[in-house]
Structures are given as C-alpha cells and as structure tokens.
Amino acid sequence: MTNMKSDTAPLLEVRDLRVSYPTRDGRTEVVRGVNFTLGRERLGIVGESGSGKSQTGRAIIGLTPPTGRITAERLAYKGTDLLTASPRQRRQIRGGGIGMVLQDPRFSLNPLMTIGQQIVEALRSHVRVSGSDARRRALEMLERVRINDPERVFGLYPHEVSGGMGQRAMIAMMLIAGPDLLIADEPTSALDVVVQIEVLAILDQLVAERGMGLIFISHDLRLVSSFCDRVLVMYAGRVVEEIEASRLSEAKHPYTRGLLDCVPRLHNDRHPLPTLQRQAEWAV
C-alpha cells in the first residue's frame, strides 16, 4: 500500500483527540484534547493511573469499546484519516500497519487457543505461508523474545504461562505482523529486568533499522527516560508536559516532579514514601 502522500506525511498525526463515555450525569471525557505527531521514533507516554494513556492508544488503533465516542480534529496514519477510513482500509492498517500490545496480555490472549496457534494466526492473517513455515516462524519469534523453551511454550494455553511469558507472547504476535507503528501499552511490566532490557533492545532495533514508530506507554520512569526519545506526561486526559526523555529528571510540571519523587530508591530510600498532593488546577 504505497501512495504519494504516505512518503511525506508523518507516521501519525493526532490533533485534539477526545474520547468520552456515557455516565449517569451525561458524558465524561477521559481523553480531553490530546495532540502529538509521531515520526520514526520512540515516544514515551507516562502519567497517572486513569489519565487516559490506554484510551489514547486504543482510539488510535480502533479498539475503543462501542459505548465510547471518539472525536478529533485530525487522527491520521501516513496521511490516511483513521476516523473516516473504510472498514477495509482499517483492517489493512490493523493487519500490517499499526499494531498494539495491550496492557494485560493474559486478558487479551484467546484463552481457548495455545500461544503457538495465536502467533501462527497473527502471521497468516497478513501473509500466505504453509503450516510448517508458519510454525517455524512462530517458534523463531518466541525465541527472539527470549522464551527459553519455545517448543514447550508454543503448546501452552494462556493460563499455563507466567505473566512475563504471556507478555512476550503478545509482543511476538505483534512483531510477526511487522507493523510500521507499534503502540506498546506497558509491554514489559511483567518481565524481569534482564529480559525487559533484552526485549527493549529488539524494539529499539526495529525503530533504528526498519524505521518503525513506537509509542511506549509505561509507568516505569527510569525505563522511559533511558529508552525513549521524547516523553508525553498525561494527567486527567490531557498532555501536561512534553520533554526530551533524557531530561525527564529536569521536568517542570509539578505533577511530573511529584511523580519522579515518589519512586522507591535502592539507595537513600524513604519511609514512608512521599506521595503526590494533587492540585485541582492540574486537571483544568
């Protein structure tokens, strides 16, 4: 799917994105006017639990539940408007264009299919390969995400794998489709730090070598500041600060500063930990 505009248009444009849900007293906006443009880079999104990070990611890939309403001045992938795209265009985009690793892997995996079957299915939904080829490639992908015994894990059902194995299975499913834009929602939160760094190195390589764009949603500030290029800080449905990742420690917004201060430290730890005193004006 190549056309003229796809070469010059940014990978993703998000302007005034809003997501709302019906509540007892009218509609509540959970994403309230998010703006950013993404190139072939690693963009981190951090922010309070419930601030709308996952809802932003889901709106981009089209996984907002039916009760949710999305509006945007512009929401475009390589110049194609995602809100007005035909179902066929959307399927195409979701098949090989945009991929998303959802926040909870075991909840998102199909409980009735083995891990291997699901990766094979993800592969076959966008390329034509023979059964044995698909199996081989799925095993390779499991190995790539540092699963020690791919053969055993291939045949396990989601409830038979550990948290971190499920998370890596999800990542394998997404990567096997070779997306140009990957939205990874807490993709490594269940991984031990050694494997976590290895998995990030794979994503890093895809950005550097294949020019993939990456939206990396995470609560781990240390990881985001060491891994990403740029970070958006969300609070109550809005982006309250944007900062170069390596300078996260110099953040200005009191919410970001407070967040950095709450983290337990291996050295000079504090009891009790400082907590955030949320200010009403942060949410306006």
Binding site: S49, G50, D104, S189, D192, S226, L259, L266, D269
Partner: protein, 263 residues
C-alpha cells in the same frame, strides 16, 4: 529498607516452606525451595520471568499442586484442600488485575463477596474503609471492572484482599500496573497495615527497589530454583554472591543503548 527491621521476625514462623516442589506434568516449575516467613515479616521473591515465583504463591494458596516437600501455615501442614477459614487468614493479590476480578460484578459486589463467605458483619463500614484505604472514592463503588483503568482494578484487588483482615498476604506484582504515585500510596498503606496488625507477607516484584523498600529478606530465583537468599541490606550494599543477582542489579539501572558499531 523497612523500619520494621528488628521489630519483626520474632516468634514462631507464620509460614514454612520445606523443599517445596511443584510439577505440571513432566515440567518442574518449582524445584525444592525452602523459606520461612515470621510474624510481621515481609519476604521478597525476585528473579527470572517464568522461574516459579507466582507458582510458589499459588501453591501456598492451594491453586497449584504441592508435588513434593511441605508447606506449613501456623504450624499445620497444608494438604490438597484448604479449609474455608484458611482464606480468611491468607489472601492473595494476583499479578493481573484484569483476570482476577469477575467481569460481571461491580466493585461493591466484589468487595461484598469475601464478607459474605466468611460471615463478617459490619460490611458497609468495611467496604467504605477498604475503598478509602486504597484511594478509590465512593464514585467507583458501582462500576464494573471494564470501566476501570489498570491501576484502579489493582486497587480493587488489594481492597478485596485486605477486607478480611488476613494474617498473611500473598502479593504478586501488586504495584507493577500502578503509576509511581499510586504505588507509593499502596506501599505506604501496606507498611502501615503491617505495623498495625503485624501482617506478614510474601511479595513478588521485578522492581528491586520495591522489594528492598518493603522486605527484610529476599530470595532470588531462576529456573524454579533458589539462586540465593539475601537481606535487603546486603542487596543494597551490593554484597551479593551470585552472577545472576549481579545481572539483575545491573539491568535495574535502566536501558543502555549500545553504541553503533563503526563500519
């Protein structure tokens, strides 16, 4: 490290695991792990993904088989089945807040269930207090899990575990889905309850700083086995003996981009 160091850890152990082994068919998920948890103590489990940490907690809770060795709770060996009362005294918070909350139950129903099962009176007050303790306002009480963010679900799971006032809490990555500020609130809450009620716990986490913050001692695991057992003080001081533990400590510092190899 926890302030409780010194104050806790006296008295007969609440829980003893003696060469605990867990098999799933031919696969040995936990291979002869031994430890004890003393009253008011918090024991940490860290290590490789898939090394059997969750399985240890599940075996204690009766959700995975004890294939070899033994586990004793308050002196009594745990068999195949657990009495109802056991679950009042031992509560677990699962790794994924999504799977562990019933999708068709409101927060209110989720919190009422353990109260009904254990015939605990005073439900209304306990529910309000539990929601308050985990920082969820009353506006969340009648929501369903799918209407909550990841962190909000995990707070509901923690509230549910605390509502029966257990002696032993099994915490599987309780804060990995939470932002730093909610994590700090939950860690402070757990510490407070611990001091208050001499609550013992086993905490699984990938975050070494979270472990050393809450636990006196920790076990490092790999491939179903114990690599080494350390005090948090030893870990912080870098007094570790095994290469795997060193690797974990190095990786904890964050991502390091390798310099591109010159052509």
């Amino acid at each position: 490290m926890s302030d409780l160091h010194g104050k806790s850890g006296t008295g007969a152990p609440v829980l003893i695991a003696d060469a605990l082994g867990v098999d799933f068919g031919p696969f040995r998920a936990v291979d002869g792990v031994s430890f004890e948890v003393r009253p008011g103590e918090s024991l940490g489990l860290v290590g490789e993904s898939g090394s059997g940490k969750s399985t240890i907690l599940r075996a204690i809770a009766g959700l995975a088989p004890i294939s070899s060795g033994a586990v004793r709770f308050e002196g009594k060996p745990l068999g195949k089945r657990r009495e109802k009362a056991f679950y009042r005294h031992v509560q677990m918070v699962f790794q994924d807040p999504y799977g562990s909350l019933h999708p068709r139950q409101t927060v209110d129903q989720i919190l009422s269930e353990p109260l009904a099962i254990h015939r605990i009176a005073d439900g209304e007050r306990r529910i309000r207090q539990a929601l308050d303790e985990v920082g969820l306002g009353s506006g969340f009480r009648f929501r369903y899990p799918h209407q909550l963010s990841g962190g909000q679900r995990q707070r509901v799971a923690i509230a549910r575990a605390l509502i029966t006032e257990p002696e032993l809490l099994l915490l599987d990555e309780p804060t990995s889905a939470l932002d730093a500020s909610v994590q700090a609130e939950i860690l402070n809450l757990l510490e407070e309850i611990r001091q208050h009620r001499r609550l013992s716990s086993i905490l699984v986490s990938h975050d070494l700083a979270v472990i050393t913050h809450l636990c006196e001692r920790l076990i490092v695991m790999q491939s179903g086995r114990e690599v080494e057992t350390l005090t948090s003080r030893q870990l912080v001081a870098g007094e570790v003996t095994k290469p795997y533990t060193r690797e974990l400590m190095a990786a904890s510092e964050g991502f390091r981009r390798k310099e591109p190899v010159p052509a």
